[in-house]
Point group: C2
Chain length 265, copies 2
Amino acid sequence: LTDGKVYLVGAGPGDPGLLTVRAAALLALADTVLYDRLVDPGILKLVRPEASVIYAGKSVGSGDTQDKINAKMVSEAKKGRTVVRLKGGDPFIFGRGGEEAEFLRRNRVDFEMVPGVSSALAGAAYAGIPLTHRDYSSSVLIITGHDAPSKVKRAVDLSSAARAADTLVILMGAATIAETARRLIDGGLERETPVAVIQSATTKRQRTRLFRLVDLAEMSGTGAIEPPSLIVVGAVASLARDLDWFRVDGKTTLEKLRPAKKTAR
Amino acid sequence: LTDGKVYLVGAGPGDPGLLTVRAAALLALADTVLYDRLVDPGILKLVRPEASVIYAGKSVGSGDTQDKINAKMVSEAKKGRTVVRLKGGDPFIFGRGGEEAEFLRRNRVDFEMVPGVSSALAGAAYAGIPLTHRDYSSSVLIITGHDAPSKVKRAVDLSSAARAADTLVILMGAATIAETARRLIDGGLERETPVAVIQSATTKRQRTRLFRLVDLAEMSGTGAIEPPSLIVVGAVASLARDLDWFRVDGKTTLEKLRPAKKTAR
């Protein structure tokens, strides 16, 4: 009996059309699929009926669940099975794909990395926002709003971030957006800096809203922006007004209104 | 006669398996395909034989060629044709996809954005490098080595970049790598910071080399690193030693040697 193999596969941002050709082929031949919370149900239809399809979604910071996922990948592969570990977006941009690859290597399980279209980039495109632009942006910084302070490495330095990049993309930033916006303004970003908040990007539930950075800094509570949301900070966010192209049932996903109470300065 | 439509499509980093399902479908139905220099020939095989396939590669900064591409997209669409504008990687990460979308909008041509797998992210994964990692990186800054100083916006501030991001990804940086490395060290990055240089990433010509930042800073001339190369700066670059998985004809693409004259410090 030959050992199996684990494919660490990105499912893309939501729209099943943004799955890669290789990911689609692997789903059609997998014996076992371990999938995450943010994987679109339309994508799971590609799995063949005989395969084991196992939900492996987990809450942020749930180490125990991660241990179980790791153990399951190894045990399935050691049975000789072809395993697809399927994650939303790209597994190697805040998807723990690297940590899972290390675990597989330590346990002598063969693996391949199959990158997906990252939600960080494609979500912006579906709102009509190019993250780089000759006139407005030649640098893109991707961070997460869930950066745990207890890590070995330093936390994200938002003051430097404000100076370093023309465009800032924040994943998983809904809950911490007000604090993030305040730190960016303290770091030197203009209060008027355009911000786009794209909820459920590339899906039929997509909703795009444009703000000024100060609007978000003055928000109280955490309910104003719901996850999953992609947040784009920088001049390119304004291009959504002109380049908005994605339609759901023939309608734009762009709400141009700013919060009413913030319009008087 | 109805006006046609232009699809601004990412071809992914090179490996045809990393094309999206939607891109493959659009190539199979396009009347006209305008493709760039970095698009893999294997991908063009998906175009139907009756379609016009036009090479639209251009040198950096060749404004005249860009004008011709823009005019061609518009004239083909106005004839009622379905046009695919195909670019390597993702068209909205240093691909001028945003500028082309603006031109189409100004000329009242309908368009859609079809993001691709970005070379910046996938190229690293094919060298076994996850750009984020719980222990080493929670921020990724993507820049280009070809940042023209004559632009409206400010140039990339490499000193801030060095402080802002755990991982720095440089596209089109081969010719300017020594200067970039020196500026990053001046900006505060450790001379020993690991760097991976991945040439022709995700293709059969892939070649991965690991350096210390100081090795690159001390390089003279521009021939040492050839385009197209992806450069990854930061602790995650070292993970390539452990996680290197991609094989070409059964062989690793990773050369672990550093330049001999630099080993004595």
